[in-house]
Symmetry: C2
Subunit: 336 residues, 2 copies
């Protein structure tokens, strides 16, 4: 029986072993002409108009989880950051910091998963980098992605464009990703619950193609829906009123939250969009989102108001209100 | 007396503490309009023509060293990768993976150093990300940068354009960075030796402006000069003949190498260019490089030949030859 092949410090040397690792793992799966040239930089075709540029580091623990893995997260994280900025994601790069002793088979699974995610999102991974740190000085694998997109002329100018009376929509159940990670770490049964890790770029494109002009979009990752809305409220000097009864939260996510003392409004999503649109566009936006890939669970969840008692005011099912602000500290580290 | 302020897991939450960290450390030093908008992606002006895109992860240990630090390395690493691809570096992003307990003061020193390096290289850091891992699961700080450049029409097409008879130049003494890191880790006296960490973009621009058309350029980082030349030889099906007597190596670097059993030809540089030019452009290229910023130590070191006994053939001072191939494994981990 062969012993498992492991990443060694030599794989990070920049020499022969690095070359092999890149060719036999990354290029093998993520193949495209720009990546195959293996230069210090990828040469890309001109991009007309303004650009969007985004980066995210991923340190999720565990590396594999139902619905995804750190590689899929790294692709979708950057794709979604570009999409909600109003850009069409085009080119990604990926940088790997690997702990000595990490399994090459796991690395290859992750590379294959990234290739799959990139294909689904319609982007190419055109360049990358690999470093190796000594055992005990990392934690298996960290992945940092960055991406370039073509910024639409109609892209939102920023939270300040939001007005009282605007409608707030979310593209599906919230907190799935956070609940999966929380449950996994606690050894709980997942009962079919999966991360929502996935691309939202096609849904955002559908909105623009239908003539919808969102005033604000964000993907509610770390800090969750409540933090995104509270940041919006702070920046636009408004409040956001949300109806708990309209908020899509899966029963399984609610169970995980009850058991672990978490709040779904602060739990990370990794494949959802929060969109704020002028009230008169709300019905149309909802229909477009519901008909777009990954948008079938879209809901109108509330509206923007003049500044009120708190940045985010939740109308509970029982007729009361609960106030939310930006997440103060940390409820679940290393969620992404 | 105040106790030192340390990075906590809450600084990676995506909530209030993350916001503060970004504003009070990164935006404070790296300030520019795109960064200050703090969106999920930076909105950038159109870039005419083809783009170059590059990324590098930095795990150097120690984080601070004479002549630089991990932040300065992250800026120059990406600037130089873009420059040697024939691009004018424009926009950078930076992603930080911080170990819980890392000093905020050190982080701020690094951010200030990055700002300084970006200014010197004429680029802006327009977006970023921060993650925090638990104590013992990282190693102080890892920084990953990525960058966008405007690719010149005359940019080298790749190593295959190189021909026997072409001239090989290097822009200054080799191995300074590697020797500094090696010496520091061994507790040796540095005797004034500093890393060569710095930008080569202005020198590359000067070459193009003077009408020089390098057939190949590379910054010899991990794996050093020998690995760059051996990779070139392999890809272009040629050999490279180098004269030891013409190779610029500082005496202090030679001493470190002698004591630690390292070879300067495999030691990383972090602010040098290897350029291959048609023989008839060699004199002019040398003059331009010598007159450009950071190029005063430029030398012609050898020439491209038909395939010979090895990829890189070093003519020693004593009339013999020594063969070099791509670095096989690792001589000094975590050099950058």
């Amino acid at each position: 029986m062969d012993s498992p092949q492991l990443v060694t410090l030599g794989h990070g040397s920049g020499g022969r072993l690095t070359q092999r690792l890149i060719r036999e793992v990354f290029v093998k799966h993520l193949s495209n002409p720009a990546l195959e040239s293996l230069g210090d930089a990828a040469a890309l075709a001109p991009v007309p108009g303004r650009l969007a540029f985004s980066t995210d580091g991923f340190v999720v623990s565990p590396l594999f989880f139902p619905g995804g893995d750190i590689g899929r997260l790294a692709i979708n994280g950057t794709v979604n950051d570009l999409a909600v900025a109003g850009a069409q994601p085009l080119y990604l790069c990926a940088s790997f910091i690997i702990e000595e002793g990490f399994g090459l088979e796991s690395l290859e699974r992750i590379a294959a998963s990234m290739a799959d995610a990139a294909k689904l999102a319609g982007v190419s991974v055109v360049t990358g980098d690999t470093k190796v740190v000594e055992r005990g000085h990392g934690d298996g694998l960290f992945v940092t992605s960055a991406g370039i997109g073509r910024l639409r002329e109609e892209a939102p100018a920023g939270a300040k464009a939001v007005r009282p009376g605007d409608t707030v929509l979310v593209s599906g159940p919230i907190g799935d990703h956070g609940a999966v990670i929380g449950a996994l770490r606690s050894g709980m049964e997942l009962q079919g619950l999966e991360s929502d890790c996935g691309p939202v770029a096609a849904m955002v494109s559908a909105l623009y193609e239908a003539g919808i002009r969102p005033r604000f979009m964000r993907d509610p990752t770390r800090g969750g829906l409540a933090t995104v809305l509270a940041e919006l409220a702070e920046e636009a000097s408004v409040s956001v009123r949300v109806r708990e009864a309209d908020l899509p939260v899966r029963d399984s996510v609610r169970s995980v939250c009850d058991l672990l003392g978490l709040d779904p409004l602060y739990l990370a999503c990794e494949g959802r969009v929060v969109a704020v649109v002028p009230r008169e566009q709300a019905d149309k936006a909802l229909n477009v989102m519901r008909g777009a890939p990954r948008g079938e669970g879209s809901r109108v969840i509330g509206e923007v108001t003049e500044p009120a008692v708190g940045p985010v005011v939740l109308e509970t099912r029982y007729g009361g209100t609960r106030l939310y602000d930006i997440l103060a500290s940390e409820q679940l580290p290393r969620i992404c």
